[in-house]
């Protein structure tokens, strides 16, 4: 048995050489890995394809300078029979213009043929989901006011304030994967005037929505609003919709089926009279055309003139 003699100088030399090698090896092999740690949190884009999931809003707002023209159709009930061509004989229409004033604030106006309702809204995205340690969800606030301009039944006198309704909503969404996104939205709907004394003026609801991409340019969508406190003598059901988004360049087509026929929150959330399982289903579509009214700041300039 021979004892190993430890020379302190040699030991230090060996250790420092080892350190040197390990350090330089690290700095060479992992040049790219080091960079990954330097990545800043980046916002997640396109959680939903459209600014509307189906009837209701999505967290999406457009970049400043973009205008969207929204043409919405809802046909009659599918179970209204062949003499009504499964509802296609009669359509409700909403024509809308959404203006993105900034990257976070969009305002819009719209007019529905049903009850001749004019609606306005403001939508503000105040939280963005980000990768690399940023916020796990995106959130948007939505406020809307609408006025029903249909003539009241004869003998009924209405003041302007009686025709008004308001909506407040918070939308929270997460893009779980490039294909799948989900959204939760608590909503408050206030009607200044309701049909009967039994009806509540304020309806509270919770919406849930999702989308699953099935190709790079199409996705399946789903939307459901649960009402907590709507008491009314007329038929009233929760709104349930299924749809498909198809994107073709500057257009988005959204085709869907729903037991709701109204296209604004006050109508589809608080005033849906069709029962989905009884076949009270409306075929509908949204066509969204995007216009870039004002170009974005454009590509940033090079670092300095010497480039």
């Amino acid at each position: 048995m021979q004892r190993i003699k430890l020379n302190p100088v040699r030991a230090i030399l060996t250790v420092s050489l080892l350190l040197l090698f390990s350090r330089s090896a690290f700095s060479q092999d992992d040049l790219l890995n080091q960079l990954q740690e330097d990545q800043k949190p980046v916002p997640v884009s396109a959680t939903f394809k459209g600014a509307r999931v189906i009837n209701g809003q999505s967290i999406e707002t457009r970049d400043g300078g973009v205008m969207e023209v929204v043409i919405q159709h809802r046909f009659g009930r599918v179970n209204s029979g062949v003499e009504n061509f499964f509802g296609l004989d009669e359509a409700y229409i909403r024509l809308g213009f959404d203006f993105a004033l900034t990257d976070h604030l969009t305002v819009g106006i719209g007019r529905s043929s049903h009850r001749k309702i004019y609606d306005t809204f403001a939508k503000y995205s105040f939280l963005e989901q980000k990768t690399n340690g940023g916020s796990p969800v995106s959130a948007t606030a939505f406020l809307s006011a609408s006025t029903d301009t249909q003539d009241p039944p004869s003998g009924v006198e209405l003041e302007f304030r009686h025709t008004m309704s308001y909506v407040g909503e918070v939308l929270v969404a997460r893009k779980f994967s490039p294909g799948f996104s989900a959204q939760l939205m608590p909503v408050w709907v206030h009607r200044n005037l309701v049909q009967t004394p039994q009806d509540v003026n304020d309806v509270f609801a919770l919406g849930v929505a999702g989308r699953q991409k099935i190709s790079r340019r199409s996705a399946l969508t789903f939307e459901y609003y649960y009402q907590f406190n709507n008491t009314t003598e007329s038929e009233n059901y929760n709104s349930l919709s299924f749809g498909i988004d198809i994107e073709t360049g500057g257009h988005v087509f959204q085709l869907h089926i729903s037991n709701s026929r109204g296209m604004i929150e006050k109508e589809f959330i608080a005033d849906t009279d069709g029962k989905f399982l009884d076949g009270d289903i409306h075929i509908g579509f949204n066509i969204i055309r995007v216009f870039q009214l004002k170009k974005k700041g454009g590509p940033p300039k090079p670092m300095d003139d010497s480039w």
């Binding site: 030399l13 040197l20 800043k40 790079r216 995007v290 870039q292 170009k295 974005k296 590509p299 940033p300």
Partner: protein, 178 residues
């Protein structure tokens, strides 16, 4: 005494070797497609890079979502449909710069060879560019073509704008000693 010197030197060496590492302080990546209907341009200032002045090794990483277009919809299509930034968040290059004299000041021609990874597809590439070493600062610039089909990026025929089959990419980095 001699041994002590060696010890001190070997202790210092890792520090010296480390001091040859450069990290990017500014970046400018541009993508330019020239097509009859419309020229498409996007610029990204969020890229990061590291450069080893001793070995010439270089790596850079470009976050795809950092590309800024004039039209928002184009930017969304670029991310969602073409580059699929959700699946492939960065474009990277890892390689080595050859053929330059580290003592020379001013811009000089240099070659970079290595692996370019875009849209999850890795290719061996050789890029011509220019490099300037100025004390603690290093600057590189390069303009080179990329054939988008090489990286399995599909551009459908029926889109309302056209993208050239070969796009021009500009890569500029400014480094400081780490």
């Amino acid at each position: 005494m001699k041994t002590i010197n060696i010890i001190i030197l070997s202790l210092l060496l890792p520090v010296l070797a480390h001091a040859q590492n450069y990290k990017s302080t500014e970046s400018y990546i541009r993508f330019f497609s020239e097509a009859p209907l419309e020229n498409i341009e996007a610029v990204n200032k969020d890229a990061v890079s590291a450069f080893n002045g001793k070995t010439g090794e270089i790596a850079f990483s470009i976050p795809i979502v950092g590309f800024q277009f004039e039209k928002s919809l184009m930017q969304e299509h670029f991310n969602e449909n073409y580059l699929e930034s959700g699946k492939y968040p960065t474009a990277t290059f890892k390689g080595k710069i050859n053929g330059y004299d580290p003592k020379e000041t001013g811009f000089q021609d240099a070659n970079a060879t290595g692996k370019m990874k875009i849209h999850g597809v890795e290719k061996n590439v050789e890029i011509k560019g220019q490099l300037k070493v100025d004390g603690d600062k290093v600057t590189i610039k390069s303009v080179f073509p990329i054939k988008i089909a090489d990286y399995d990026i599909e551009i459908p025929k029926v889109v309302f704008y056209n993208i050239a089959e070969v796009v021009e990419v500009t890569v500029n980095f400014e480094y400081a000693k780490n």
